[in-house]
């Protein structure tokens, strides 16, 4: 079947991308100025300690050997150990990444829930008050930095109104959802703005298409015309855009987690960067890049499912 072979071909394309990602991460970490050991130990470093840490990190080997070790370790799931936290990077990531994924997933969901109906309202009332106010509001939302939105929501709905907690992650699943709502909303705002703008334009482009006229001429109900004929076609380009925005969303999560004191991978990333905990930075960068690549794959599959012409 064409669809399955498309997925297979798309999976093959993932290989060079992942290889490139590995090279980039390896090079980036080796390009760090000074050696990590001195950075870790600070000015009072003794030569013996530097040698010990370099050996611990495998940095005393020639570069190709280091790359070989790097690949072998990744293949076996060994991402090294955190210098400061004294635990394996893999377990740290396993611990913190789900929090970030939950946050971004919630944000993506909120963004869709906001963007799709409002894009519909705006597109069907093109040029009128509703359209202009929706677009204006989202344009302002798009110009607001994530940390600023977070700070305001935190102050108003957390500190002042006390509707939501002012930070943290909670302990049960429902509690997690409750704690993550404001941060997810913060993160969702600019994504919703981008999706709304794209989807509105797409709907306007599709609504006058001849196949929509044909659907009307068949005597279908307007709701069916709007969902099956208009929305489905309009969503095709929006899905692609959505996939491309996942990287931005994860980047935004780094800041959101900082603002709301959420113990996720983003917060860990910032802490590790400050603390020059290179194995953790390296492991997290790899994990995030893989997640983004997989999201691209997923959105391509969804797009192919929405648009049969893609998977030819």
């Amino acid at each position: 079947m064409a669809f399955l072979s498309f997925i297979f071909r798309r999976l093959l394309q993932l290989i060079p991308t992942l290889a490139f990602i590995l090279v980039v991460i390896f090079v980036l970490v080796r390009m760090l100025p000074g050696d990590p050991a001195s950075a870790i130990l600070g000015d009072r470093a003794r030569d013996a300690d530097v040698t010990r840490i370099n050996a611990e990190l495998g940095l005393d080997q020639p570069i190709p050997v280091q790359f070989g070790i790097f690949l072998k370790n990744i293949a076996t799931g060994d991402l090294g150990n955190s210098i400061h936290l004294k635990v394996s990077v893999a377990s740290l990531i396993a611990d913190r990444l789900p929090v970030t994924l939950m946050l971004t997933a919630m944000a993506a969901l909120i963004a869709l829930v906001l963007a799709v109906p409002l894009a519909f309202v705006a597109a069907t009332r093109q040029g009128r008050v509703a359209d202009n106010s929706i677009r204006g509001a989202f344009q302002v939302g798009l110009s607001m930095p994530v940390f600023y939105v977070g700070l305001i929501l935190l102050t108003v709905f957390g500190a002042q109104l006390r509707w939501f907690p002012v930070g943290g992650f909670g302990s049960s699943f429902v509690d997690h959802l409750y704690h993550l709502f404001l941060p997810a909303l913060t993160l969702a705002l600019s994504l919703a703005a981008i999706l709304m703008r794209n989807l509105r334009a797409a709907i306007i482009g599709v609504v006058d298409a001849e196949y929509v006229d044909f659907a009307r001429a068949k005597g279908l109900r307007s709701r069916l015309i709007m969902t099956r004929h208009v929305l489905r076609n309009a969503l095709i380009s929006t899905v692609t855009l959505f996939g491309l925005q996942v990287g931005t969303l994860l980047g935004g999560a780094v800041i959101t987690e900082t603002v709301f004191a959420i113990p996720g991978a983003g917060r860990l990333m910032i802490d590790s960067i400050y603390g020059r905990d290179y194995p953790v930075v390296q492991g997290l960068a790899l994990a995030l890049a893989v997640i983004v690549s997989l999201t691209f794959l997923l959105t391509d599959i969804v797009q192919a499912w929405l648009d049969p012409r893609v998977a030819r």
Partner: protein, 338 residues
């Protein structure tokens, strides 16, 4: 005026003073201007004109398929009800169920992301009480009926998997799914190769007989009209300028525009007759000349043509023309000898 177009038995569709106006930043533009015509049961009516003459907008206006900012007025009476005035739910039952429409470009009229099976079935679902399996069976019958080979295996294919001619057949199958009694066809063969054109026209005529439908066929191609239509109405600048039986109009056009159109069609038989051509270009709908809209291009035009707009009037049973000098035009004949 309303009685003027009666030709005997009761018409299936009766259009009176249909006007479609688009509000533009530079003022209203009337694309269809007080058009009236009848369609008899089982008849094929050709609506003929150049692009921009308002023939396609007329067709869309019948079913209220005009995009904003267009507005439709007048009366379109179908089985004693007025399509222009009826409520949206009522109109929905007529659309697809009683009156079907097919478009020029099957590539753009078929939804690219839905299987043809679904696009047939949604029509059946809207207008019949067939259950899922019965709908599927009917969809296969329909594809078979319009001449799609191995119909059962093509139900789950998408429009892009069909060739141009097959795609047009698919569109016809979708449109005719619920046994409509009137088919509105907007240049259904223009996008196709000549050989396939003939097949599709033949298919439409076959289906007309089979379903006992009437057909309104919009075209700019007089060859198509000659091959398929019983009667024709010629449109110019949003108005009907002449109508009548195809045979009569071809033999003796009474409007200079019809005469010009006929003159520009190469005809078989007559050896190398010089083709008449119509000087100038059709007017922009935003700037229609006063008097008869055709007068700047007309070799018969006189003072009265620049002043008064001629009304569409009967000069013989079933034959109508809107021309101050139609007798002179008729006397001038159709082709200039070489």
């Amino acid at each position: 005026m309303s009685a003027a177009l009666d030709t005997g038995s009761a018409p299936a569709l009766s259009v009176r003073d249909l006007s479609t106006t688009f509000q533009t930043p530079r003022g209203p533009v009337t694309a269809v201007d007080a058009v009236s015509f009848d369609v008899m049961p089982g008849e094929v009516l050709g609506l003929v004109g150049e692009s921009g003459s308002g023939k396609s907008v007329t067709l869309r206006s019948l079913m209220r398929l005009v995009h904003a900012p267009g507005t439709v007025s007048g009366a379109v009476s179908w089985k004693g009800r007025d399509l222009v005035a009826m409520s949206a739910p009522e109109l929905r039952k007529v659309r697809g169920g009683e009156i079907a429409m097919i478009f020029q470009e099957p590539t753009s009229a078929l939804n690219p992301v839905l299987t043809v099976g679904l696009q047939i079935e949604e029509n059946l679902k809207a207008h019949t009480s067939l259950d899922r399996s019965a709908r599927r069976k009917r969809a296969i019958e329909l594809l078979d009926l319009v001449g799609i080979p191995a119909a059962a295996s093509r139900l789950d294919d998408y429009p892009h998997q069909f060739s141009g001619g097959m795609r047009q057949r698919v569109m016809i199958a979708i449109a005719l799914a619920s046994d409509p009694k009137l088919l509105l066809a907007d240049e259904p063969t223009t996008a196709l190769d000549v050989t396939i054109q003939d097949q599709i026209l033949k298919l439409i005529l076959d289906l007309r007989d089979r379903f006992a439908m009437s057909v309104v066929l919009v075209t700019h191609d007089l060859g198509v009209v000659a091959a398929t239509c019983d009667r024709m109405a010629v449109m110019y600048a949003g108005r009907i300028v002449e109508s009548g039986p195809v045979v009569d109009l071809f033999r003796e056009p009474h409007h200079a525009y019809t005469r010009g159109l006929l003159g520009s069609v190469p005809r078989g038989g007559a050896e190398r007759t010089q083709l008449l051509s119509i000087e100038g270009t059709p007017p922009s709908l935003a700037a229609i000349p006063p008097g008869c809209a055709f007068n700047p291009r007309c070799s018969f035009a006189t003072e009265v043509c620049r002043r008064d707009r001629p009304a569409l009037a009967a000069y013989a049973p079933g034959r109508f023309v809107a021309c101050h000098h139609h007798t002179e035009v008729a006397a001038a004949g159709t082709a200039v000898a070489a």
